[in-house]
Subunit: 416 residues, 4 copies
């Protein structure tokens, strides 16, 4: 064993990869602190703790960061209607900076100079992890074994990892591996790699875990009322049974249940990674999908048209930054501030129904809406002078008429 | 009857409003040519022709413009993934410039100096109509009765129209009026006004006409393959029964059938009109919804990431322009050209399933995709050096580290 | 004389036009309150007061709003680097909402139901005036004589105004009118119309009034240091004679003097008006030009690259809104808030020289700059690993290589 | 000497650095082909050729690429009004892809597997060079000695290079080195590093080489007419002496002369490099500065307002891409196509004067302008109805009034 290289805080999942990494890091001379974030995934955390200790971790941190994940990461995304490339609700991208932030805090508390993770060298997660680390603690050193030739050449495939595990007393999984990889948190689960790498291959039956198949989901909808303040949900009421949820975490968990029950939130996409390649992912984002639709509706109802247009541009940029791992950056901070400001009037209640994979908006109300029923009414004139529209149209047409005039002139000339 | 004011081409629908307008225009001294566009709505065109002639129209044009609507208006919108305010697929907005363009052509052919329409003074359609007219024929004069005090003060409500109709031998509808107004074309149908003006009111059962209720729609999906060239669908194959459609119009009609059968394409939104007010609309856009999802998928699969980002910005602007009535404008022409250019590589086939109100993407393939299975594979290194990602991340973190360095300095100073 | 129509607050300039309007408004039955804003233009305000009273104004308000013009309108524009269509520093556009805001306040104080102005029906100023009025006081009624047929048909040209003036005892100007019109405030002066309407005509000698001809301006520069806090100038020091100015208004006046002396701030442009036509204007903006260059420099020096890019987009929109008259609008408020936030780190001192029509940046310093001399040095490695750049470039090239690969494939196929 | 590593094409400047690199590459076992691009810099090309051969280059290419630099790189930048961070005309950034493109061509012709350059590891040029190489020839291998530890650790400073030169018979410069570095091409020259690294340090007298000091430049202006077609200058006429230039290269050289003579085109800025650091540069861009102003003017005169706004956004992105080295990328190709399209109507002649460091636009004319003198005239009504502006303003104010209404309601509520 090499000479001590200091302490490293490893983002540990309890799985085969990071278990091998834990042992390998020790082999390289590091004192290893295992850190396992509880961010809402299904996991036997105590088993993972024992396993890490058994493998030689000096210390194990199991941190429940679900609440801060919802309040500090998911909520700003809801306010932004954050969507990467028109489809991806950013479930993994939002979790990474939340996980890494705590990891940095642990490193600082423990005086560790290093941070390690098991993310691959081709993916986005390595970037999201490390940009967070460097942004919050520029002096930290990152150990990314999957980018170190001495590691990835030693473990070119799963077989070599298994061999290594057996040799070092690392428990190997007893259930056969799914032919794809998964990553889960409270907001979403992703399926990619393996047989899904062929973008033509259909998702196999039985892949989905967070949502029921719409084909077998209930034949009656759940009807919900979601109340927003400052663009953030503050209360959910199920009209059917009167159930309500108000705290951020409980509300989000409840929406996950309802959406999951009705098969809401499945997508199959090809997206562009920050490192420059296209990849295919299948995602489930149950509660996130309901909230996306609900927030879009209450925002359109309450926000001025032109403010909305500017905010939409900011949110596009925000989504890209989050995807690329720049949550902790001056520009993303700036955008969160601006978007947050835009949400002040986003107050009100959205009525919706969840059914067979879909979210249907049924109606909305707000004490602060710019909607003016009398003004828009086709039966009442309200404070509106129809003749004004004539001037409005005429002035708007001025430029078009001038363009036509010129085009005609040019065309005539060319014809001569 | 007043002295002749010349000829007017009236956009005639056969309904009560435009029938009254037809008679009123004659009363004002116009020779009226009735123009009824067949743009895919359900209508008894021959009955309408007879009615117009009976009411005194000098001539009646019934023009089937469905094909050009699909090819010249809907297809560019599909290429753009056009969406107004994140939700509205622009069904009505796309139809208006198509209808008005033909109307201008008729006016020019007939030497008419005037054009008239029955659009209200608070809506978007008046703008879309008239901007098209002025852009294509700056000298044309528009008569918009619902903005003329002598008209709208005479007809403050439906009752006065009915009285006028009875007095002038205008057939009045025998079926009771729905408590909302509708506007239909091949792409979509809108429901608004009346009881829907209260944004909290839920759409009543029985409102929808283009799509079946997902609650009673078939329990087995239709699985389709849609083939694209230059971002435009060129063939649809139903995997279930092998049915195929290739011509633009037939293909679109077929997708309307399939989507309608499965309840796809319903939305209930509040949107911002160009004239500055918020309004509530319920829309059905069956085929358009399938094509939106399919095109998004094939585009993401084939288009470079950064080209896509630029194109997305252009399409946002395009959607706004179309909504506001600027289809025939120098800027919209420019955008269509640019977006069209971006579609050259958008070639391939999308596999999807249509079921219970939803469109599910199942997979995709293309001879021109930038997707590189080997490059992205988690099991094969491909032409990729993981160590490069280290440099990539480090350089990207430089700016963040500098920002942190400065923030710390500033914070320390403030603490002193 | 007609029956009383209530009280109107007229934006009065003391010139022929608004004097005639004052009398005409009385003739129409209004009680007229004359309001003359001192916004830094050269004017004999007391003479104007006497004239207004002599013409029958019920009351005259002469309001010095220079200070609030600088602090509340010019400063946000400096923070934004506001520039309309890449060239116009918005001197007139910024003044209008400041003038109209006070006018609304006076109307409210006086219980006046009406506001009147002498802006023409083709220009931007009518829009800027009235949008401000309506935004701040929706119930106000605007009287814009130059858009009322009964007024503009009565006064088709200057001759008719002169006749009216003579008939009603309105003093007529003794000096011959310049063959162009001017509008002046503390920030700028515009020359347009008349002989300048031909865009090919060169500005005649003697036109400029705020700046000396660079051909005869001093042969030695003035060298200044301008200190910024939160993106706003807080102190100017003239290195030559040690003169300093610190209060907003004095500092701005001083920069006007220096810039004017050296012929800085002249432009001759064709711009696009909000009402849809192109117009030609010649402008002088002395202090504004210095501050534009100085702020651009200190901002680039202190602000993060990506924040700057986002802010630049916001500022483009801001400039357009200000030009179009939307200073008092929800979106412009939102933008000012966001831009203001971006200015927190914009602190430091810019050194510059003003000479022969130009502003030359000489250097800059800041306690909060993100500039890191060691990091950027070509002689010192600093905290930078050159090898990282290899990975950075390689990953950035990935996408380009894939594109090339595909293009080659496509080209080969086409060649076959 | 090591075993042969194949052939490398070295971008050779004739200076100390690349001469040492040439010898060092041979030492490493490469066959070296020296490539010197004549892109308008002042250089003794024949001396450089002899020097390279004397140092052991297998072959020397001296390529005059000035004409293609102007026509294929500068002209698109003129069309775009390309400006990085509001100030930098991109003189160096435009030259790099032009130089590297030819270098790749030579490598392909010669069957060389490698390309080498002398750019530093902290700068932008390495990125611009290599992205071009990889985009045009993905298989090429780049050798960047300043990023190789074995090179940069051997040559930590100039002294070590000098020692190496003496030892290997490399002629060392006889004139003392300037305390800053320079990079020159036909479009511009940059000064950076050395004493300029302190951003407060003023540019020393005598630094500038392409422009005369405005303090000693002629006391009479040169007045020019520049004629544009499709947004590109096609003819320059000097009104003073009647001199004309029509071919792209001659025209550009002539404008460099005139601008240089009058001290036009100097800037001193801090900019943000792609690799994430801020750097300070002093630049001279004489002809480019004249063309920037002239093109801006003719474009504003001829292009529709809304097309211009869209094009402005595209050009912002284009400038950033060019700066970052992505000239040869799918997105930059796309942007050049779109911007090129926007230039079709940009036809006409700009009159301007060049004097004491400034470019003054005097007037403009065009057969295709959208400027309509009658429409804009203050004395003629033209085809314009002033009353329309009332409707236009009223409709535009609708949204503002609604916002005010709501704000009042909210405020009242909060006060209760």
């Amino acid at each position: 064993m090499a000479q001590s290289k200091g302490t490293v805080v490893l983002a540990y999942s309890g799985g085969l990869d990071t278990s091998c990494i834990l042992v390998w890091l020790k082999e390289q001379g590091y004192d290893v602190i295992a850190y396992l974030a509880n961010i809402g995934q299904k996991e036997d955390f105590e088993a993972a703790r024992k396993k890490a200790l058994a493998l030689g971790a000096k210390k194990v941190y199991i941190e429940d960061i679900s609440r801060e994940f919802v309040e500090e990461f998911i909520w700003p995304a809801v306010q932004a209607n954050a969507l990467y490339e028109d489809r991806y609700l950013l479930g993994t991208a939002l979790a990474r900076p939340c996980i890494a932030r705590r990891q940095v805090e642990i490193a600082q508390r423990e005086g560790a100079q290093h941070i390690a993770h098991g993310a691959t060298g081709k993916g986005n997660d390595q970037v999201r992890f490390e940009l967070t680390c460097y942004a919050l603690c520029p002096k930290i050193k990152v150990v990314a074994p999957w980018r170190l030739p001495e590691f990835y050449q030693r473990f070119p495939g799963r077989r070599e990892l298994m061999d290594y595990a057996k040799k070092h007393g690392i428990p190997v999984p007893v259930t056969p591996q799914t032919p794809w990889s998964m990553d889960e948190n409270l907001m979403h689960i992703s399926y990619e790699a393996g047989i899904l790498e062929n973008p033509k291959n259909q998702a196999p039956p039985g892949l989905y875990t967070k949502t029921r198949d719409p084909a077998t989901s209930p034949d009656t909808p759940d009807v919900l009322e979601i109340e927003f303040e400052r663009g953030v949900p503050v209360k959910v009421t199920n009209i059917g049974d009167g159930a309500t949820r108000s705290s951020a975490l409980e509300l989000f968990v409840y929406l996950n249940d309802i959406a999951g029950k009705h098969g809401v939130g499945r997508i199959d996409i090809v997206e562009n990674r920050f490192v420059g390649m296209k990849s295919r992912g299948i995602y489930e984002t149950p509660a996130g999908t309901i909230l996306y639709h609900a927030h879009l509706d209450i925002e359109a109802f309450t926000m001025d048209r032109e403010v909305r247009k500017i905010k939409q541009g900011l949110a596009l940029k925000f989504s890209e930054l989050v995807y690329n791992g720049f949550w902790h950056s001056p520009e993303c901070e700036f955008l969160r501030h601006c978007i947050g400001r835009s949400q002040e009037p986003v107050v009100g209640t959205v009525h919706l129904s969840v059914f067979k994979g879909q979210v249907y908006i049924l109606g909305r109300e707000s004490p602060r809406s710019l909607y003016n029923e009398e003004l828009v009414s086709m039966n009442v004139q309200g404070d509106y002078e129809p003749a004004d529209a004539t001037g409005f149209i005429n002035i708007n047409s001025l430029r078009l008429k001038e363009y036509h005039r010129l085009q005609s002139k040019v065309t005539v000339k060319q014809d001569e």
